[in-house]
């Protein structure tokens, strides 16, 4: 490696921190514009949905096990099971299914 690893890390950390902190510190007022407010209200749901599917299917070793884990997590979440339980049960299902695959 001809470059310095710590300089690499500094560059990464600085860029990533600025991305995170700039909006937080620059937008101090409550936004009144209805369209912008609505946009920001929908952002989390869309972002998390985009990141979850189909990425969950390739997260573990077996796509079938992950797919079943996904469906079970969907059902549990629909029934308002706590985050911790949804998370743990989907892991357990994937673990057990993969033992048999």
């Amino acid at each position: 490696m001809k470059h310095n690893i710590y300089l690499y890390i500094l560059v990464m950390a600085a860029v990533t921190y600025l991305i995170r902190v700039l909006p937080l510190t620059l937008i101090k007022k409550e936004i009144k514009n209805k369209t912008v407010r609505s946009f920001l209200f929908y952002v989390p749901y869309v972002t998390l949905a985009v990141m979850t599917f189909p990425a969950i299917l390739t997260a573990s070793n077996s796509m079938v096990a992950a797919g079943i884990g996904f469906v079970v997590a969907l059902i549990l979440a629909w029934r308002r099971t706590s985050m911790f339980v949804v998370s743990l049960v989907s892991c357990a299902i994937v673990y057990i299914l993969e033992l048999f695959m």
């Binding site: 001809k2 510190t25 929908y42 952002v43 998390l48 990141m51 990425a55 549990l76 985050m83 892991c91």
Partner: protein
Amino acid sequence: MSGAENINRKNYCDGMRDAIPIALGYLAVAFTLGIAARNAGVHALPATIMSLTNTTSAGEFAAITAIAGGVGYAELALMQLVINLRYMLMSCALTQKLDPKFSIIHRFFIGFGVTDEIFGISVARKGKLNPCYMYGAMSIAIPAWTIGTCLGVVLGNVLPGGVVSALSVALYGMFLAIIIPPARDNKVIRGLVIIAMAASFLFTKIPVIKNISSGMKVIILTVVISGVAAVLFPLPDEEKEEEEANHEA
């Protein structure tokens, strides 16, 4: 002992509690990150420092590969900008959620904690967001991410593969627990979640488009889908009663 202090402590504890599934998922994902770092020739100390100071899975995975290939500093900066730009959207959304009672100093600190997962649980809080909630979550999640990375480099393949594989779905289970209950209650959100997942799936299949990085994909789809939804289904007007509060200057 003031009431505000009690509320802050309560928020901190809630944050720690809600971050336990995040920490579990982070341990697993960071462990695989550590293995990737080890394979790329990055040692334990720099890998650990990288995770402590960045806390971004996709960004770090991409960086490790790039660093192993001797990428330039500017190129690395640009890469991180593109992959992590989604945090900017999240931070924008958080500005509208934060309790205005807290000073701007707090915003510099919570800025460290805007990850996909901590953002997810923070926006899911009822009412205004107390920064102490995020501090609580960060105090559990960031050490888990950092320690997981370190263990991955040092221990390599000691942990059974099945355990690492299964824990990798933890974060996604958590995301579902965040978005599905509101989707059940609100038709618009339900439609958006379905469209977002379908579009995300298509993005992995359509030629050319499937080459777009995952970070960029998140940005494009979030902006387009949320933007269209904001125009078609604007939120009802807020009550005027909140207007007069919080002008202490």
